[in-house]
Symmetry: C2
């Protein structure tokens, strides 16, 4: 009997860039196709894509991709479709209605027009000879989030992507505990589970607790109310809309992402706005400030976002004054604290009233299960093996030590693969297989994958101490040391640095003099770059990038 | 009657870089002399220094600096002394014993040997004709922290730098409430107060609560215990030492900052280690792992710190294995989350037991007063005016709205100066004076102040898309378009980019062809840099720094 192979293409130990390969015999099924966000060292990189070279290799070797299922509508689960699908053969794609809408919108951005078929809970789809996938509802920070029951000849895998257990969800769609329990009785071999909030021991509060807090903060605001949140967070948006409607404020959506998401959600009836309450941003001036509620993108303080432009007075339609109130219904995403608090500080400085989680914890709730909820899932599923996903390494290990252990899974039955490591599932056992080297692809501007490790390390070096270019003319065989040009940026303030240039010219001449007449150009360049760099470091303890050009008159 | 002027040289609305100028008639008194930490946009900058050009100007105009008082031993209050004192005339410097020791150590690093005189609580020193400064004890995260009562002919100013109200401090030295109340009765015109933790409404717990938590986590560890914290946090270090001693573990200090601070504290009897319990790091191998407690620098995951080198197996004396336990007795400083959690993740990945605040909140306590403690200070002092310091803009405004308002100070009596704005104190009134432009000085390697706005914006541009240098030789008056050299770094992976180079050469030739024969070199360079940049952006949506060199054969 063959084994099922599971290969996470996104960084195991990372939270984003979710893409999972399920492979059985000659068939491959894919779960999710999400982007990653560059870390602080990836200078200039906009987003990161999962490395699909393993997939391409398998396809070339004759394997068939029988389908893709998208679990929910967050960008780290769907937004790589527009980049990656064109590189792959055609196959059917399935998702719940809203997820399908969001994914198709993402694809449209990239000029990709692939159909996404809507999958219904409890109605499994068969993919190829070996896979059947059934979705079931779970609660999370975007509607239509699904867990997947993946049946294969090697056994049942429960793909438990991002979720929490919300007992009073905003849209009334609770997590399907009955189905979890039933599939548990049927026998789950391996359960994958969201582990991001494993550090928390208290149950995460219901999303519907946030609504009354928003309403309370919207009351008695003299001017405009502005609310900002993750722009796919339709439960939050719904509750903000409800509060606005209750207080007789018109709702205005501002910002490309939120405007698009709202449009899709309205069409799919995943968001409800009473007639007459939604107005266009260009109509705002027809209403007094105290009849407006602006739901605006930019909850992370992103440079160039609608909110940030409004904060700094650079938005065409939206201004924010001292009688207005801004509600940040979102935490700072880790690593994002600086721009997030910069916006808040600037608003305070401008005398604006601001509500944010540090002073009003109820204004935001996480969409991810805490440790007890993760344990509850395991108890319902009773899997033989568990594998935490969607968390950093500390979360994965804590899941093993705190959650799986409590569900009586010993360490051998909790699977923590390294990035690229294939998990083999077969004969009632789960084990580690070979490791595939993964090189996530960077997207910078319109270039994909051309910004690799070398370019990034150059950018880092350039950012730290700038650069010096030494240009040496050559006449015949004679390097003209009397005519060395030095160009520099980001090193020292060059207008005050005639003596710096003179020093570099002198040092370069010395270095060249010390080399033999027959030294090759490459050697000359290397000698200058190394020895000039060392001299500079000795003087000022900086390491600019040093480049040398030898220019011949032919 | 003259006015007292107060000018914060550190960024108002920033937390660090503390330095306050008090000026009356021809005399100037300075409180603190601290460094700032570069923000994420200040590429390559190590630290930031307060701009003292106002001070230099006043000294040149005949004013006298009559003294400096240092409030406590944190680097953002003392560590600029080594850089700035050599630029200023001599004057007496005062600080409590430990602060003096730390400050002199900082100065020694820079080869500066100025004496710091020890000031005793309740024994005012007279500075010049117009100032008398008295210190009083407050609790904070470093021993010997002082608030200052500054008496001037214009009235009494209470300089309430970083503090909290800890009812059971580790060293037994409580905040001197009686003196605060007494000076309040005497009449405080203006109170400056730490506002950093104004978002918190609960009293910050006592530092002495942390000790038992450390002890509990140190018990039954099979291997080594490693503990990391801010290296000036001697109360935390004392409690860690106490726990180690109780469990019969030898204490080892590793890391330059913690080793130096411990040495100074032992000499000044601010830290107590029973005889025989402190061993040198080179003796560690003489003891079994379960008899060792290593107190190690690097609690923020700083690149190159002892802890980080140990985490990645690169430390000569310290290794960390699966039977060891690492205690992070420190929060991530805002903006530092990425390296902080990287260390923790790596340790988990290596199978090490890790304790950190998210999973054990009691392992760390803030050293800063929450809103109720800030209010308590105001109630004791009953000042006519209040001015929050040491916080971001949101903290300053929240202090005004939540703390000062509750102490019945209306908005006009809460002073929130802009950066560089002089606060005028006189005739029982406090008001805003002129604004001084402040340009904090950057320190990068051994260079001070030569990395200004222009260099930093170049570094940012270089970091985002790298750079392209175009070298054009000229023979006589003829630009040799057949021999254009292109050098690039950080733009695209150049080995695969012959066509990129060819494109640039062709485009540069076109641009030059389109210019008149008499175009000056500067214009040629400008045209290339602008138009080539635009062409590149059109193709790939990146904006590398473009530089042009024209090389003559003379």
């Amino acid at each position: 009997m063959s084994n099922l192979k599971i290969l996470p293409l996104g960084g195991m130990g990372g939270v984003t860039q979710n893409m999972y390969v399920y492979e059985y015999d000659n068939e491959i099924m894919i779960v999710d196709c999400g982007i990653g966000f560059p870390d602080i060292q990836m200078y200039g990189v906009d987003i990161v894509l999962p490395d699909i070279s393993y997939l391409l290799k398998q396809v070339n070797a004759g394997k068939t991709i029988v389908g893709m299922v998208l679990s929910h509508g967050h960008d780290d689960h769907i937004a790589a479709t527009g980049y990656l699908l064109p590189q792959l053969p055609e196959f059917p794609i399935y998702a719940a209605a809203l997820t399908a809408g969001f994914a198709q919108n993402r694809m449209k951005d990239m000029g990709v027009g692939r159909e996404v078929q809507v999958i219904k809970d409890g109605q499994p789809v068969t993919l190829g000879q070996n896979f059947s996938v059934e979705t079931l509802a779970v609660t999370h920070s975007v509607p239509d989030t699904k867990h997947l029951i993946i049946k294969t000849p090697a056994g049942i895998v429960y793909h438990g992507t991002d979720f929490k257990f919300d007992e009073s969800p905003v849209d009334g769609v609770k997590s399907d505990y009955a189905r979890m329990e039933a599939i548990g009785r049927e026998g789950v071999l391996l359960a994958l589970s969201d582990c991001l909030r494993v550090e928390k021991n208290e149950t995460i509060g219901s999303e519907s607790n946030v609504g009354p807090v928003i309403l309370a903060h919207m009351r008695e605001v003299k001017g405009k109310v502005l609310a900002t949140m993750m722009s796919s967070h339709l439960h939050r948006i719904q509750q903000t809309v409800n509060a606005a409607v209750e207080l007789g404020r018109k709702v205005v959506f501002v910002g490309r992402s939120v405007e698009q998401n709202v449009q899709i959600a309205l069409e799919l009836k995943k968001l409800f706005i009473p007639a007459g309450f939604m107005i266009d941003k260009r109509e705002m001036s027809d209403f007094p400030d105290n009849e407006l509620c602006i739901i605006i993108a930019g909850s992370q303080g992103q440079e160039g976002s609608s909110l940030v432009r409004a904060v700094y007075g650079e938005h065409r339609e939206v201004s924010i004054g001292p009688s207005d109130k801004v509600i940040f219904s979102a935490d700072a995403i880790p690593g994002n604290e600086i721009p997030y608090y910069q916006s808040i500080d600037q608003l305070f400085k401008n005398g604006v009233e601001v509500v944010y989680p540090e002073i009003e914890p109820g204004i935001h709730q996480s969409g991810h299960a805490s440790a007890p909820e993760q344990l509850q899932l395991l108890k319902l599923l009773q899997p033989k093996y568990a594998m935490p996903i969607g968390g950093a390494d500390r979360h994965r290990v804590l899941y093993e030590r705190r959650v799986a252990a409590q569900a009586n899974l010993d360490r051998q039955h909790t699977i923590l693969p390294e990035s690229g490591q294939i998990v083999e599932v077969g004969e009632g056992r789960v084990s580690f297989g070979q490791t595939v080297e993964l090189h996530p692809q960077t997207v910078d501007g319109l270039g994909i994958g051309d910004v690799g490790k070398l370019v990034l390390s150059d950018r880092k070096a350039l950012s730290q101490s700038g650069m010096i270019v030494v240009v040496i003319p050559r006449q015949g065989k004679q390097l003209r040391l009397d005519n060395i040009q030095v160009i520099s940026r980001g090193f020292v303030f060059m207008k005050e640095a005639d003596e710096v240039i003179a020093f570099i010219q002198k040092r370069v001449a010395e270095i060249i003099d010390s080399l033999g007449k027959k030294t090759k150009d490459g050697e000359i360049r290397k000698a200058i770059e190394k020895r000039l760099g060392r001299s500079i470091y000795k003087i000022i303890k900086r390491e600019p990038v040093v480049l040398t050009a030898i220019v011949d008159l032919k």
